[in-house]
């Protein structure tokens, strides 16, 4: 694994015309917020997601993950392929609590 110095200089943050575009629809996170998060030191999809909640809504990032990754990569000046994907977590689809609770056939 290569070490990444978090204090390396990025190019200056320049506001863009489409910064107001919503990228994560579930949590209503814009492109500009993601770009600014990178300049604030969030260098990968894990950190950006914890910082802004993009990809943490009902669809769990199934809609926006690739877009978010591309935006981060462009801001860092690296290829999107160099960035790891977000961790997929169970359950794959949202499940009601009372159904989840019955995993052993109980009826509570």
């Amino acid at each position: 694994m290569s070490a990444i110095d978090r204090n390396r200089n990025l190019t200056e943050y320049i506001p863009a015309a489409d910064d107001d575009m919503i990228v994560c629809r579930c949590e209503e996170v814009t492109k500009g917020e993601i770009r600014r998060a990178v300049h604030d030191g969030m260098f990968n999809i894990h950190e950006v997601r914890r910082f802004l909640r993009c990809g943490m809504g009902l669809c769990q990032g199934q809609t926006c993950a690739r877009l978010v990754k591309t935006i981060i990569a462009r801001e860092l000046g690296v290829s999107p392929g160099e960035l790891a994907d977000a961790t997929a977590r169970a359950p794959t689809r949202p499940v009601e609590m009372y159904i989840f609770a019955k995993e052993r056939g109980r009826s509570e």
Binding site: I4, D5, R89, M97
Partner: protein, 375 residues
């Protein structure tokens, strides 16, 4: 960039980041080394976010009370971003007389430590939180407890420290602490060698791997901690919740989702290898616990479940110390699954220890040399 700074912090979790922040605020130069590619990827981003004083080990009570009185209330303002700290009290619920006895013991112990915590009946509890099941017979109530967002707190300290010039290097595993002239002064890492006047180890369960290089070992094991989060819903209540039997704990977050954790009883029996996935049995058990006390939440959808490791120490309280065996070394680990609430205070103390200031409070109960063999 030069690999020389006043202090090296190993581990960029909430406590490491906060230690770096408090050191930078005092004017010291700091380098933080993080093994993971990600900042705060261990317990710091995986816990339930409780900022509780009630139910604490008596030794930890002064640490958390200091934080609740002096650090948590202004933390968002100080760090320049919202860490979603809510101070709306903690309800620990009971449904049987046996539960009430457990709660009374916890309450008496905390009250004797100077905390405002008391037993209340179902009517009072229902007034505080109208969504309770009618089966609840009583609760312990600590009005000054609360919760915060651990993901944001961890990243807020990171962001603020970085802005103060702290150098963070991720993907850089510390391999060895080296003594020079009898003092810990150098860290050999995977990609480089770093020098400083003192070295702080805040690496959670991984701390022992690093401490082994100077012959030290804290008696602790990895133990699983599992949480889940629901879809968001309109604001209902913002108390921190728990139960006498620890079936579940949790709270509603600012976002509107509920974050809950629970225990299975199998927590200590883990492989301890890699980042743990959530187990299939934990979240369903937690859901059963929640529904018993809050049937109104039963239709809420679970969107995500996850797991992390706690650095569970032999006596379930941390080591916060400068061990006499290795001058220049500061240890902050073994937080045993309740480190988040005390992280600001613990970090403030670790920062003081790193530059040989007198700690803001007595930390003699957290000494490294307290572990004695039986015979």
């Amino acid at each position: 960039m030069s690999n020389v700074s006043d202090v090296i912090v190993i581990g960029a979790g909430v406590i490491g980041n906060a230690t770096a922040y408090y050191l930078a605020k005092k004017g010291y130069s700091v380098t933080v080394l993080e093994k993971s590619e990600y900042i705060g990827n261990g317990g710091s981003s995986r816990n339930g976010g409780g900022v509780r004083q009630s139910g604490r080990h008596p030794a930890e009570l002064p640490l958390v009370m200091y934080g609740v009185q002096n650090l948590w209330p202004n933390l968002s303002e100080e760090l320049g971003m919202d860490v979603e700290y809510y101070q709306q009290g903690n309800l620990r619920l009971g449904k049987t007389l046996e539960h009430i006895k457990i709660l009374e013991n916890l309450t008496n112990s905390a009250a004797s430590g100077g905390l405002d915590v008391r037993m209340i009946d179902y009517g009072d509890a229902k007034e505080i939180c109208p969504y309770l099941s009618e089966e609840v017979v009583g609760a312990s109530w600590c009005p000054t407890d609360g919760h915060a967002n651990p993901l944001l707190t961890t990243l807020a300290y990171y962001r603020a420290a970085r802005r103060l010039g702290v150098r963070f290097v991720s993907g850089e595993a510390a391999l060895e602490i080296r003594k020079i002239g009898g003092r810990a002064r150098q860290v050999a890492a995977e990609n480089g060698v770093y020098n400083a006047d003192s070295i702080v180890v805040t690496a959670g369960i991984d701390s022992n791997r690093i401490l082994a290089s100077v012959g030290l070992k804290v008696p602790m094991n990895p133990a699983l901690l599992e949480c889940l989060v629901t879809e968001d819903c309109p604001p209902m209540f913002y108390q921190m919740l728990g139960t006498a039997m620890a079936d579940f704990y949790g709270h509603q977050s600012k976002h509107g989702s509920f974050v809950f954790g629970g225990t299975t009883g199998f927590e200590p029996y883990t492989s301890g290898v890699g980042v743990p996935p959530a187990t299939p049995s934990s979240a369903p058990g937690t859901c059963r616990g929640i529904i018993k006390y809050f049937p109104v939440l039963k239709d809420l959808k679970i969107v995500r479940a996850w797991a992390g490791y706690m650095d569970d120490c032999f006596d379930h309280i941390p080591v916060i110390d400068t061990p006499s065996e290795v001058p220049g070394l500061v240890i902050g680990c073994g937080f045993s699954g309740h480190g988040f609430g005390i992280s600001p205070t613990a970090a403030a103390v670790l920062a003081q220890l790193a530059v040989e200031e007198t700690p803001v409070m007595d930390i003699s109960q957290f000494k490294y040399d307290r572990f004695k063999v039986r015979g």
